[in-house]
């Protein structure tokens, strides 16, 4: 155990001290902060605080006004000429004209000078009209009328709930899953590099007389996973702070929440997914003669994990389609498929459990097979391990 720990520590410290780690971490940070700053600037810049006007030829709004709140103030004008004058002088950003037959046609005309009013200004006026029209109705009816319909999907056991009206809530699992898959890929990529460099440096033979293959590969895998998790933790911390700051300007971000179920599923699927790909990378590192060829092979394998992202259109149109279910149960795609589906549907419990069990079994097979190939492959300096050798390794005598 001490030796595995020493190897983990060595791999971790070596990697985090490398310039490439700092650059990789910082560039993502710059990207996260940049996106948040740009979003906030767009939200701020696009927010015109000048009032919205209206001319009510139908006489349904009774000349009422509304003070500015989250959105701009709403002001009534007696006629179109007065409203036009206010618009031309820049006192208001736009005005609506409600024709005499508004109640039968439900059509209005929007007048604006140069820039169309933003969503917030338009929804402020919509809310104002609904509120005035619903005056005199019971409170619950008014609330339904002003809020509109809200569809919530809830699982039969009540444990899962999805509110499609909050698009960020739906996208959060997608992005969280993507980040973790990215971390998994990064760690396994580091592992492949570490193992092929062990082979290229001719150090594996000395290492194998000092530690067991399991200590060597396990120590490296854990150390390099810690590297990715460190990177991920830094990114997440900055993302959370950025969301908190940007949430001051973007209302949707304030409503964002992370469900404990999502956290649980990421934790449960992350480790076996990493073990699965770590085993595969160990085998590639042992089979391939150098880092370059190893990475080419790894690139193809990585695609197996990204299939659900490539088939995002299918998931979006029907997150419970047979393709989505099969990919949820297939070990290499289970993690990504679940995170893609999580925000769009309630995944049946049997699929979550079956997918996890299959994934764990595949991960165990991957790790054990990799250990078999490792002993022979790591000493085949400068050579690609042939099929005969791989078969011999699986014969159980070499490992």
């Amino acid at each position: 155990m001490r030796k595995a720990w020493l190897i983990s520590r060595q791999e971790y410290l070596n990697r985090v001290r490398q310039r490439s780690f700092l650059l990789g971490t910082l560039s993502m940070l710059v990207l996260i902060v940049g996106i948040m700053v740009v979003s906030a600037l767009i939200a701020l810049g696009g927010r015109d605080r000048r009032p919205i006007g209206y001319v009510d030829l139908a006489g349904v709004l009774h000349g009422q006004s509304a003070a500015a709140g989250d959105g701009p103030a709403v002001r009534a004008f007696a006629d179109e000429a007065a409203a036009r004058a206010a618009l031309e002088s820049g006192t208001i950003q736009a005005f609506y004209l409600l024709p005499q037959d508004y109640l039968s046609r439900h059509e209005v005309t929007l007048f604006y000078a140069k820039d169309k009013p933003g969503n917030q200004a338009r929804s402020t006026f919509d809310d104002f009209v609904r509120n005035v029209l619903a005056e005199g109705q019971p409170a619950d009816v008014r609330q339904r009328l002003t809020e509109g319909s809200r569809l919530i999907l809830r699982s039969l056991d009540g444990q899962r709930q999805i509110d499609p009206s909050n698009i960020l809530d739906a996208l959060l699992p997608f992005f969280a899953g993507f980040l973790f898959v990215l971390a998994t890929m990064a760690s396994s990529g580091y592992l492949l590099q570490a193992l092929t460099s062990e082979k290229e440096n001719r150090t594996s033979e000395v290492m194998m007389t000092t530690v067991t293959p399991m200590q060597l590969v396990g120590g490296k895998a854990v150390g390099l996973m810690a590297v990715s998790l460190t990177q991920l933790a830094i990114w997440l911390a900055v993302a959370v702070v950025s969301i908190l700051v940007a949430g001051q300007y973007i209302a949707e971000l304030r409503a964002l929440h992370v469900s404990p179920g999502l956290v649980l599923i990421i934790v449960a699927y992350f480790l076996p997914s990493y073990a699965l790909i770590a085993g595969m990378m160990t085998a590639i590192g042992a089979i391939m003669p150098d880092q370059q060829q190893g990475q080419q092979m790894a690139g193809i394998l990585n695609l197996l994990f990204f299939i659900p992202y490539l088939l995002a259109a299918i998931f979006l149109s029907n997150p419970n389609s047979p393709v989505a279910v099969v990919l949820t149960l297939f070990p290499t795609t289970a993690f990504t498929a679940i995170t893609v589906r999580w925000g769009m549907t309630t995944i049946p419990m049997w699929q979550l459990v079956a997918g996890w069990v299959i994934l764990v079994a595949a991960a165990a097979f991957s790790v054990i097979s990799a250990a078999q190939i490792f002993r022979i492959g790591m000493l085949a300096y400068g050579q690609r391990l042939g099929l005969a050798s791989i078969r011999a390794a699986f014969g159980g005598k070499s490992g």
Binding site: R202, E205, V211, R375
Partner: protein, 312 residues
Amino acid sequence: MTMPTVQLSGLCKRFGSVEAVSDVSFEVYPGEVFGLLGPNGAGKTTTIRMMLDIFRPDRGSVRVFGKKLDEDAKNRIGYMPEERGLYKDLKLESTLVYLATLKGMDESAARSRVAEWMKRLDLYDHRQKKIQDLSRGMQQKAQLIATLVHEPDLIVVDEPFANLDPVNTRLALGILEEQCRAGKTILMSTHQMYQVEAMCNRIVLIDKGRTVLYGEVEKIKRDFTTNAILVEGQGDFSKLPGVLDLRQENSHWRLSLTPGTPPQTVFRALAMRDGVKIDRFELAEPSLDDIFIAVVQGKNPADVAAEEGSHA
């Protein structure tokens, strides 16, 4: 009876259709320098790898320090493989300390021991350099340090002098001799027979995966000794009793004796002869090189003797 440090019994290893090692057995005792010899592809490295648990044998058993190789035993072994290398993009000192801690040393002890070795081998001033920035000779010295820094009881060196320049060969030889004097057990696989003759107490010769010769160097040489003597000096060496043939080889004469003639008879005859000055008189022992080549060509001591005799 002393327990062997290394005990290999009936080791077999097959890679696909190739039988790399077949029924190899030998023992290495504490404090001895043991030579593992054989031509290229004979199975020496595979034998070492099985001994060190890098490969598992198909059949046979390996015992090191009287037991199966466990973590404690691994910490007592220093191994310098033929295919050697260190982490090129890491700094010298931290790499050596890391390897020493993996061998069970605590970090502060490893740090001071590594410093001592680096000072001794003139590497101390380069300790903060990356290994890839060191010269090849320096890298070889670093490899030696990595093998010995944890003071192993068993030192296994596979072709220790391969690719070494003369200065480093002498350095490596001196260090191995020093380890030998310190009572460490050394198992050395090499092609350089003169080094084996100079250092090894006992040897095993493997050819095509099989043991073809095993025992004490002196005894093996005696077994292969032909009935001939080498004489160096001045005077007439012809027409001596019991001498079948007389042949000059470089600065000495080779005298082939008739079967049953003891060398002492010839020595006495020479001593009695006037005008003869003898600087050297010795049994014509074959070198390990000769024995190696003869055995690899499938000859036994009798064949070698007969061959020597046929010169007569």
